[in-house]
Amino acid sequence: MSNTVISVENVSKQYHLGTIGTGTFRNDLKLWWAKTRNKPNPLALVDEADHGNRDGEILWALKDVSFKVEQGEALGIIGRNGAGKSTLLKILSRVTTPTSGEVKVKGRIASLLEVGTGFHPELTGRENIFLNGAIMGMSRAEVARKFDEIVDFSGVERFIDTPVKRYSSGMYVRLAFAVAAHLEPEILIVDEVLAVGDADFQKKCLGKMGDVAHEGRTVLFVSHNMPAIATFCDQAILLEYGGISFQGETNLTISMYLKSKAELSGEKIWEDINNAPGNYFARIHRVCIKNQNNESTSNIQSGEDFSIEIEYFNTIDNSRLSVTLLVFTEEGAILLSSISNLEPDWHNKPRPTGMYVSNCFLPANLLTPSFYSIGVIICTKNYQDCIREDDLIKFQIIDDGDVRGDYYGGYTGIIRPLLQWTTKKISY
């Protein structure tokens, strides 16, 4: 007897792009009438060529997806926007039907993607708890049994008999999530709900999810929050263009995802010196990012040391050069700059022509996990003449959780250093 609770078998989902029908009965009739007489489409604009695909182009949101989920497993589903994650969840939660294939499920599925669904603004918090519970498939008795727990979790006791239209949006979300979190389905689907609510509440939600996962219930978790995925899920699947491109242990899947993601370039080489960025006194040959194992990469763990290497050609004999490193944020602001003027070997010393390499070491836990780009400035003696090249390479800092500890919510701040903390008890 196997313990498979969800079996997804060759599921595909097709969408028609563009409008479906013409939207009005009269125009549909016209179109049909023209078609039956083999006349051209009367509704096409004069200039518009009729390609015969008035039914719209076809998009496969999911194609031949198959996987199994075992009892008690926490499965992460990751992928870029448009990879088919939401479509998959919609099929699992029966909001829409697959075009082909089938899904077999054992036990009740509830998803947290419907937080607050069916809340009626005129009804009170109490009334809405019952209504919302019923919409999600709970019986009245079940809701009644959990009622106190739900109210307690939501933290809106004082307003429980107030119509929810008077709630603040935060209270509203808290109440909605509280109902969803107490559903106790055999299979729980969670989709990015953690984006809502304040940090404190997010923490509570993740804690609740952890409980659910540890109770041996099956969880499907869709998120862009990699640390949260890594914490809760044992296994993960990576969706790409509607298909499963990788499936396996979570950390492995996440690294596959990060590799596939974004057009990051950890290294850039200009083979032809004459076309390389620079001018009469220096030309850049190569810029690259190296991780702590000295491998060239565009993905750096937030907890690892890394360095940026700049290779450049000195075209004038005996010139004295300095190199400046610029780190830009994703928004294009200069996060930091660093000059090689404290470098001991070659700074302010006459250099023979030839290739040089300067290396700038950046310590672990300096940058906050995000995307960055690198710029380089090379200057002649006394910074009289400079060349500056921005956006040479792009890299990202990946959150490995070292600084986070047990906190999974959002972080503010441009840098995220690992700082020392002490706490002492000073009085009774």
Binding site: S2, T96, V103, E114
Partner: protein, 288 residues
Amino acid sequence: MNSTREINENEDWTMIIRPQRRWYDFHLGDLWKYRDLIRLFVWRDFVAYYKQTILGPLWYIIQPILSTVIFTVVFGQIAKLSTDGMPAFLFYLAGQTIWSYFATCFTSTSNTFVSNAGIFGKVYFPRMSVPVSIVISNLISFGIRFGMFLLFWAYFWISGSAVQPTLWALALPLLVLLMGAMGLGFGIIFSSLTTKYRDLQQLIGFGVQLLMYATPVIYPLSTVSGVWRTLIMANPMTPVVEVFKLGFLGTSDLNPIWLLYTAGFTLITLFIGLALFNRVEASFMDTV
């Protein structure tokens, strides 16, 4: 290897999601499973209707009285239409009371998909529970209106009007059932079609109004003859209204056997409605 596979296939899955159900598979059993939800929907629709109003549930009564007064003045006093010797006010109130149940069932179920797209897009529950709960909650407002009608009726009876109740009054539950089922049938047909053609939504309010004039609500059937009578007899609501008047007022120009015609019509409508609804339910999230 093969044998384990076979065991897997024989496992009892609680749910199998397939591309499309057969057209005759209405899965009405699901509705029963979600009866708590239907009950809450009924109660929500009823309560939310008068929340934050001063008169509260009184609104269920004020509206029909006002329109009956208008009918009495316009059709009774000004146009002087016949009421078969009945007190005009009671005659119009009777027509209003019985007609309004069908009309509200029809109009309020006819936009099920479009007005619930938000909630349907997020969570699964049997979609039929929405129109079914609407028909039931309309039953409550019908009950209130009917109670009011009974009061007036009793007053006119005691004060010696020409009101002669007959045993056909006992057929009321059957009439209500027929109207509810037919209103639901028409409603879900239209709600299925409006997912594709929004034009129909414009048509419904107007169409129901028109249908009322094709039903002996504000005039007695006895005053109609010729082609018009044939037309009005083809209207499945005619027997319902006439039998109601026969039961409570004692005047009718129709053999109650015509109710069979209504029943047949209702069954067919409901069946077509369910089949259409079933079809649209599976895929409408992709088209709405």
